[in-house]
C-alpha cells in the first residue's frame, strides 16, 4: 500500500466565483486548505493551496467552479 500526498497550488478563474463555496467544497478532499481571492479588474480569480492525496478529484471539483490554471504540484510524502 502506498499513499502519496501532494501539495497543490493553482488559480481558479471565473467572473462569478464564490470563495466560500469553493473552500467548503474542498475541505472534504484536502488539508490546510487556503483559498485567497486574487480577483482584479472584474476578473474573478482564486488562488488555491492545499495538501491532498487525491489531486485528480480536486481538479474535478474545481472545474465545476471555473477554469484551472498556473498549476504547481509537489509530492510531499
Amino acid at each position: 500500500m502506498l499513499i502519496k500526498k501532494y501539495s497543490l497550488e493553482f488559480l481558479l478563474n471565473n467572473k462569478n466565483i464564490n470563495q466560500e463555496e469553493v473552500k467548503k467544497s474542498l475541505l472534504e478532499f484536502g488539508d490546510n486548505v487556503d483559498v485567497a481571492d486574487t480577483s482584479s479588474n472584474g476578473q474573478g480569480s482564486l488562488k488555491i493551496h492545499l495538501e491532498t492525496i487525491d489531486p485528480a478529484t480536486i481538479f474535478d471539483v474545481c472545474a465545476q467552479f471555473g477554469r484551472i490554471g498556473c498549476i504547481k504540484v509537489n509530492e510531499i510524502i
Binding site: 500500500m1 502506498l2 499513499i3 502519496k4 501532494y6 493553482f10 462569478n16 472534504e28 478532499f29 492525496i53 487525491d54 489531486p55 485528480a56 478529484t57 481538479f59 474535478d60 474545481c62 472545474a63 465545476q64 477554469r67 484551472i68 490554471g69 498549476i71 504540484v73 509537489n74 509530492e75
Partner: protein, 257 residues
C-alpha cells in the same frame, strides 16, 4: 424475464471485446492498436492506495510495462501535449510527474502507452492507420467547451499530417445524457447537446464531442461508441456522480506495437 433483462444489460457492444478487467475496441485491435478501458474491478487512479500493484496487474494483462505509462494531470482545460520517448514513465506512479497543463496526449511512437483516467468524464481514443499516430483524450464538460477533441485532431493534423477522413475514433464510457444533469453555467456554454426533460437540464457529452469530430471531416463509420453510461452501469464502472469521494478511476489506454 428478469434473467433475460440482466443478460441483455451485460451484453457488450458489438464493437467491443470484453475481458475480465477491460473492454477493447475491435476495430483498433484489427489495426494492431490496443485501445481499451478498464472496468471497476481495479481503481487505477492516482489516489488509489494500491496504485502500483493495480496498474502493474492491469497493464500486464494488456502487454504493457507499467513503468512506460504516460499520463497527464487533467486540469479540465483544452491543452494537448505531444509525447515522445523522452516522456516515458511520466505519471506512471505519481501525479506530480504526470504531464502538466493538458487533458489529451498524442504520440507517433510505437510501444509508448498513453492513458487518461475517468469516472464520468468521456474518454476518446484516436488512431491514424496511415500515419501511425495515436491519441487519448479526457473530455469533461469544461474541456469539451474548450474544444479538447477538436484541438487534439488539429494538432494531429498540423504536426503529423493526419487527415480527418482516415482517423478512427473510439468513445469510452461516460455519464450519458440520460443521467448527466447540469448547472445553468454549464448549459450556457453549449448550443447543441443540451436536453430539457421534466424541468431538468441534461448534457450529451458524446453528441457534442462526436459533432466536433464530424464537423472537422471525421467519418461517422469511423467513430465507435462503446455506449456505456457510467451512472446507469455503476455495477461495472466508477461514477463520481453516484459514488462521490469513494469513486475510483477507470483507465483509458492506447498503445500500438
Amino acid at each position: 424475464m428478469r434473467i433475460i433483462m440482466l443478460a441483455a444489460k451485460t451484453k457488450p457492444n458489438e464493437s467491443l471485446l470484453q475481458t475480465s478487467h477491460y473492454y477493447q475496441f475491435k476495430a483498433f485491435l484489427d489495426k494492431g492498436v490496443i485501445a481499451c478501458f478498464s472496468n471497476r474491478k481495479l481503481d487505477l487512479g492516482f489516489a488509489s492506495p494500491d496504485i502500483i500493484e493495480n496498474r502493474k496487474y492491469f497493464l500486464k494483462k494488456t502487454g504493457v510495462n507499467y513503468e512506460d505509462l504516460v499520463c497527464c494531470q487533467q486540469p479540465h482545460g483544452g491543452g494537448v501535449a505531444i509525447i515522445g520517448k523522452q516522456d516515458i514513465g511520466k505519471g506512471a506512479n505519481s501525479f506530480a510527474t504526470a504531464v502538466r497543463d493538458c487533458d489529451a496526449l498524442i504520440t507517433d511512437c510505437a510501444n509508448l502507452p498513453l492513458a487518461v483516467f475517468t469516472a464520468d468524464c468521456l474518454s476518446l481514443f484516436m488512431f491514424s492507420p496511415k500515419k501511425k499516430v495515436i491519441a487519448v483524450v479526457h473530455a469533461g464538460w469544461r474541456s469539451t467547451k474548450e474544444g479538447i477533441t477538436k484541438n487534439t485532431l488539429e494538432l494531429m493534423s498540423s504536426r503529423f499530417g493526419v487527415g480527418p477522413k482516415e482517423i478512427m475514433v473510439g468513445l469510452g464510457p461516460a455519464i450519458r445524457s440520460c443521467c448527466y444533469e447540469i448547472t445553468q453555467e454549464c448549459k450556457d456554454c453549449f448550443q447543441d447537446g443540451v436536453i430539457e426533460k421534466n424541468g431538468k437540464t441534461y448534457l450529451d457529452l458524446v453528441k457534442i464531442n462526436s459533432g466536433q469530430l464530424k464537423s472537422m471531416g471525421v467519418l461517422s463509420e469511423n467513430i465507435f461508441d462503446c455506449g456505456f453510461c457510467t451512472l446507469c452501469r455503476n455495477d461495472e464502472f466508477f461514477s463520481y456522480r453516484k459514488e462521490g469521494k469513494a469513486a475510483g478511476r477507470m483507465m483509458s489506454l492506447i498503445v500500438f506495437k
